[in-house]
Symmetry: C2
Subunit: 323 residues, 2 copies
């Protein structure tokens, strides 16, 4: 399906160069054809203007975010991204000239993450811009870690830093006058263009028991692992890795506990939350060091259910604009 | 990504029963895992409220249409649908109770077409309902027919009937007072719930040279085959298969030629347009008969370029509501 020849020309010009695999058939066919897809990790996530990104976010970062929230899922399964399909709902009110910048964002991330456009669809919409991506990944282990394989006695780990995405959104919507311009820019960048930890995927494949990416907030997502695995996750909120801007923001809060609650429930982190045997500690830290990926142990898996985050409550999806 | 626990509960209740393959991991993971995907046909198409369906179309038919426009692509490649991912952008203004009816529509078509939900994503949207589907298919032949394999001397064939979708849309938006209620209902059904010719997929795989599904109108899509294959498609407009309601509508038009122009450029047909060697004629007609799929030869492939439809012009995407 398409909206006729206009789309035909638009796609040919901007998207065909992104699909340099014979499997994509130059985006000129009804379907792509993978001769042998082999073992495949598959995920599909959409981002919508006004819900997952702001209307005036630069359009190339919107393209990057759409890819990265999906790559983040693939990486959390100990896999590397290979191909993706893109379904674009383009508002009639948005200049078609932005399509080129959008494609440039895709091209940049294809190079960064080693994946290729395989197919998709562009339609006009009377509503907000919507970008749906289906991402394929090649698992590096025999079976990708699920959410349900946390074992009592496991360590709980998290990559990168937590809460930056939430603060970046706050900076854009309400302003963060207590921070300097460089700190604000760093947080905004984290909100707009998250950082999937691709270099750490082999370590996830080798050592992770349960694993997922954090999109709805650290505590909310820890809760999902706890439910799926039938265990209790004991998290030390003070062990949560925070970036320098987040630490500065936290220091400026009257109530440190309320501040931590916001950061740990912020969402848009796109870091990996996983559990692993304590015996893997040394090798995990070494792998993280080699990969240049920040890694911190933030808790342990116990018998029971739910999440104990030192009394910090799970406040749910406070970070969504539209819900 | 999700909108937190509400979605979590909603999906678990309505969508998890649709994902009865271990590969889907109960929709409780970040990604699905196919141990060996093998040869794979992949397509992604979205439908948007107010563009591809009407706001008051029954919600179960919206689900069916979203699947069927994708299954139609798979069938046109001589493949059978196996799995799909669903990305749902659900308006805050639409009652959540409709999710159950939406899922019922999916369930009905999963049974009809033999495919299974593999994963996806539901997000809130301030805009219209959007349903993006990525569909996987198993090719029945070694290499699925593309658009670029039409050969000079081939016959041109089409399944089913042409123009019904366009008339169904007209019936809903402007009314068709010249037709009786049964005819109108039949056309509306064709607009809302197209009929992918699954039973004919083996014949496509065995005999088709170039093949595609008709979504933008017979002439427009014939033009795509012509361009991709570097040939000229000679179509006999009077050979175009028309349903009884379409014939009645055409008879009521003052100008038969204008009427035919509308039908041949209508879009939303989701029939298969393909070319094949004249030597396959007998076996194609036999296969169509066995499959219970109407099949008609509507022209031939000649040297040259573009489409000759007996002087009927390609009027482009006249059928879209929003464009």
């Amino acid at each position: 399906m398409s909206d006729g020849r206009d789309e035909f020309a638009l796609i040919a010009r901007h998207f065909a160069p992104l699909a340099r695999t014979p499997a994509a058939r130059g985006l000129l066919d009804d379907a792509a054809f993978l001769e042998n897809a082999g073992p495949l990790v598959v995920t599909a996530d959409a981002i919508v203007e006004g819900v997952h990104f702001l209307p005036d976010d630069p359009i190339d970062t919107v393209a990057q975010k759409a890819l990265r929230v999906n790559i983040s899922d693939v990486v959390a399964k100990g896999a590397t991204p290979s191909h993706y399909l893109l379904t674009l709902q383009w508002p009639a009110t948005r200049p078609a000239s932005e399509i080129g910048q959008f494609a440039a964002g895709l091209a940049r991330d294809q190079a960064t993450f080693g994946c290729t456009l395989l197919g998709g669809d562009t339609t006009a919409t009377p509503g907000p811009l919507g970008v749906a991506v289906t991402m394929f990944g090649k698992p590096l282990g025999a079976v990708p870690p699920s959410r349900r394989d946390a074992k009592v006695g496991d360590d709980v780990w998290v990559t990168g830093s937590i809460g930056d995405g939430r603060l970046g959104l706050l900076a854009l919507t309400e302003g963060l006058p207590m921070l300097n311009a460089i700190a604000v820019a760093q947080l905004v960048e984290r909100y707009r263009v998250p950082t999937p930890r691709l270099a750490f995927a082999p370590a996830i494949a080798a050592f992770a028991h349960a694993s997922m990416d954090i999109s709805d907030g650290l505590i909310d997502d820890a809760w999902k692992i706890a439910v799926a695995s039938g265990v209790r996750l004991m998290l030390d909120p003070d062990a949560t890795p925070l970036s320098a801007p987040a630490l500065a923001w936290l220091a400026a809060q009257g109530d440190r506990r309320l501040g931590l609650t916001a950061l740990l429930n912020g969402g848009d982190d796109y870091e990996v939350l996983f559990t692993a045997a304590p015996s893997a500690r040394g090798r995990l830290l070494e792998a993280a060091d080699d990969a240049g990926v920040p890694l911190r142990q933030i808790g342990a898996v116990a018998a029971g259910q739910g999440v104990d985050a030192g009394g910090i409550p799970a406040s749910g999806h406070v970070h969504r604009l539209g819900s």
